[in-house]
Structure formats: C-alpha cells, structure tokens
Point group: C2
Chain length 279, copies 2
C-alpha cells in the first residue's frame, strides 16, 4: 500500500491482503486505484475478498483496477456472482505490460508502467509526484508589497513588477518547490537492465529478491532476481534507497538476503510484512 | 479441518485458509476432500490459493470439491488460467443443499448433507464413522481354541461352534466395537429445528453463533443464529458437545457469546482460530 498526497494506491493484492490491512489498522477510505503487476495468484488472489469486504464496510468510491486485460475476464463473473449490490463500481483499466507508458494521472500524481521480464506478461509501476508550486518567502512578499492576486503566478515562477516598474526576479520572492517523490515497484522480474533508464534516481525502489546468488540458475529459470542483482540494479540506476522483498520461503534468515544486496548497494532495507517505510 | 481415521476433510475454505494451515503446521498430504457449505466469499475465497499452492508443494492426490454446482462454473476458468499444470486433478461433486443425502462414503466414513436455512442455498455436513469390528477377548479366544481363520467372522458378530458341537455366543468372545464418532457442522444458518433429527446425539456439533440475543432481529434478517439459539439446538438434539463460532466482528468479548450459549447448554466450547479440539 503506497500512501502519497493523501491518496492510497494498492500495488498487487495477494491472498490475505484485506486481513493484513485490517491488522495494520489501514483505513480504505482513500483507496481508489489498484495496480496489478501480473496474473500470478500471489499477486491477485486477494482481490475478490478485498472488494467484497469493501462492499460490506460502506466503502462508496469506485475501485479502479489497472491490470492485464485477462483479469477482467477472470474476475467479472465472480464479481457478478458474489458482489451483486456493491455500493461502488469496479472499473478495469487494461495495461499493456510491454510498454512504458502513463497509465494513471491526476492533479498531483502520475503512474507509468515499467516493462519487466517474467514468465507471464508483467510490469512494474513508477509513481511520480508532479512538481508542486514554488514556496513564497513571506518576508519578501511583504517587503515588496506584492498584492494577493499576484501570489498564484509568482508561486508558478513569474517575476514581480513593482508600481515603480522595478522587476523583482522570482528567485528573490520564492524558494524552489519541494522535490517530487518518485517510487518504483519492480516485481516479479528477472535481472533486466532495460528498466534502469526508467527508474534512474528514484527516491525509493522496491525490487524483488526471490533468491540469493547460490540459486542463480533457479532465479534465471523461474525469471526471478537474486538479492545481489536487486542491489546491482539499484546501484546502476543510482536510486536513493532500495527495499528488497518477495523472498523464497527457503530463506529462514532474511538478513542473509539483506547482506548480499548490501554488499553491492549500501542503502538497502529488508522489506518485511506488516511494516511501514517512510520517504 | 476435520481429522478422522487418518484422513483430512476440509470444511469451507475462506480467504487465508492455506496461510492458517501453514501457521498451524498442518500437512496437507491426507487432504483429498473439501466440503463447501455455500457460495459466500468467507466460505470459498481461499480455494484458488489453496489449490494453487498445493500444486507447487508436490501434493499429488486428487482434490475433490463437494459444493453447489455453481462453484465449478466460477472456479474452473480460474483453475484453467492459474493452475495449468497441476500434478493432481480437481474434481467437482455437485451437492443438492436442500436434501439430506449421502455425498461421500469410503470404507470407514460416511458424509451426508444437512439442509440449512440461509440467504443462499446452504447445507451443513454430518460426518459418521462407520461401525468398526467387535473387539475379540484374547483370553476367551485362547480358552476355546478358536482357529485363526474364524477370527474375522467372530469380529463381525458370528458365534463359534467348538469341535464338540458346543455353540459359544459371540458376546462371550468379543466386546462391542468402539462407538463410531459423529460430527455435525452447521454454518451458516438461521435457527432451524428441522436439523435436530439429523444431528440427534452427535459427539460434537459445530453450530454458528453469529449474534447474541440482543441482535435477534438482525440474526433473523440475515438468516444467522444467536448463541442462545445454538445452545437450544444442541440441547434439543441432545448432542454431547457444542462448539460455537462464526461470530460477528462486533463482539470483542467472545466470552459473552459463550456464556449466552452455556445458559442453555452447559457443554459448550468457544470456537477459536488456530485451535484444535479433540473428540
């Protein structure tokens, strides 16, 4: 669950997602968009339960599901059968997983797809805040007697002309906008350098690390990544922070996975169930 | 999960069932038959995850699903899509939920349906061990020199004729068989005395208790039972032990539900997650 600008975006929805949300005390009032990376059960079997519970818990805003077009064909018959009188609509938006393109946009956020390499069509998601307004320097606004009706323009970068005709450059009146946050989610995927230009410099990268290097042949065969490979991608894409996850059940000691990734990319964090990470 | 005579029978399969099974360390090697009472999400949304995980965990024996015929129509397209190469077959057996009839039978166990009263077609399940052989009295067998080849018949109740022609009645040679266990599962259902003759005297009754008496109108409207009503059924059916369950989330103090049922039927136990109950 990604929370950004007071909105919630759910990325993938395995079995038990609604249970975890309840255990973590996550309200669903602000959840309107769900993004499904690919149609394997561990990424979508929780959708029916989530939607049907929302229907009983007075969730009223529409649920938009961004996913491979097959999902609608699979889910719609179940929605018709199990969720007859939902107080909201479920709207499917097909994704083309092999294209890097904008799949969602609103006033403050843009989401685009990241083509990944997996056994079935699969894509990651890049969430970008849009650049906000510049911040006005209160004292300078007062000093130059800027009238209120001009503040909007100045926040957007305009210079100010005084009554005497003097031009005050914008950077005397304002500070730069808060840098927009960028988050990339890449799971499930084999090691793929093709994603690097897309995720270059993001604030936070979630990259799968199903295996460790000792299982590299298996990682290749199943089109998953090792922890070291996740670190490589993070390093080559020059991201600020990496969260690894999607571990194979064979690893009881997750710190081993963390250490392997950290050997390549220091700013790595172990993704764990029921845990919040802040930008 | 009911374990009887070294077999496992899963009754209903809500979201997260496979997760609970793993948390409880339940092996699935002996699970071959799943019984679904009715097609509400909290009783069947866990099937896809369970089956698909079985497919990955080298479960090889076929899975038989006993359920309303609509389930096959809803699940088969998902099985075709998500579980292409299962190492076992999934076989659907349609139930007629309005009939009390045998729906499964093997050498040692018989399962029949119990028509229930709910918002959609719904039935409970009666599990009956078949009567076993009588137990031979070793010392008597020796005393009368009963030949080995006759023991089978004697276990099944035959008298023994000595070489001198004397007839030894069976009850001198044997003790009665272990009484067969009977377990009844009744959820979801409004209060219904029609089930009493079917569940009469069972060793263990699971009966839903969604509400307490204070919510009786809501129980009636939603076709659920109160804890007191579950106790009434247990008492009138003269069962040995009652487990209540399927509580509404509104009751944070489950002991209140237990107390209400116990006022009517003393041998009541609170059904709780992740807990085993022995016959």
């Amino acid at each position: 669950m990604l929370e950004l600008r007071n909105k919630q975006f759910l990325i993938d929805c395995g079995e038990g997602t609604q249970i975890r949300m309840r255990q973590m005390g996550l309200k669903n009032n602000h959840l309107g968009h769900i993004f499904i990376s690919h149609l394997h059960g561990d990424h979508c079997f929780g959708l029916m339960g989530l939607i049907s519970t929302f229907g009983m818990l007075s969730h009223t805003s529409d649920i938009h599901i961004h996913a491979h077009s097959d999902l609608e064909k699979l889910l719609q018959p179940q929605l018709n059968y199990f969720c007859e009188k939902l107080p909201f609509q479920v709207i499917f938006h097909p994704i083309n997983p092999s294209a890097h393109e904008i799949i969602y946009e609103d006033r403050t956020i843009q989401v685009s797809s990241i083509p990944l390499k997996h056994r079935v069509p699969c894509c990651g998601f890049l969430f970008k805040e849009k650049a906000g307004d510049r911040h006005i320097k209160r004292d300078m606004i007062d000093f130059y007697n800027v009238p209120v009706w001009q503040i909007g323009k100045i926040k957007q970068g305009a210079d100010f002309t005084t009554e005497e005709g003097e031009i005050i450059p914008n950077d005397i009146l304002t500070l730069p906008p808060t840098p927009p946050i960028r988050f990339a989610y890449c799971s499930d995927t084999a090691y793929s350098e093709k994603i690097i230009p897309i995720i270059e410099g993001v604030d936070l990268l979630f990259h799968e690390a199903t295996f460790m290097e000792g299982e590299l042949p298996r990682a290749k065969a199943t089109m998953h990544s090792t922890a070291r490979q996740a670190g490589e991608i993070a390093k080559k894409a020059n991201v600020k922070k990496l969260i690894i996850g999607h571990y194979s059940a064979r690893y009881s000691l997750k710190s081993d996975l963390l250490n392997e990734a950290k050997q390549v990319f220091e700013h790595t964090v172990l993704g764990e169930d029921m845990t919040s990470y802040e930008f």
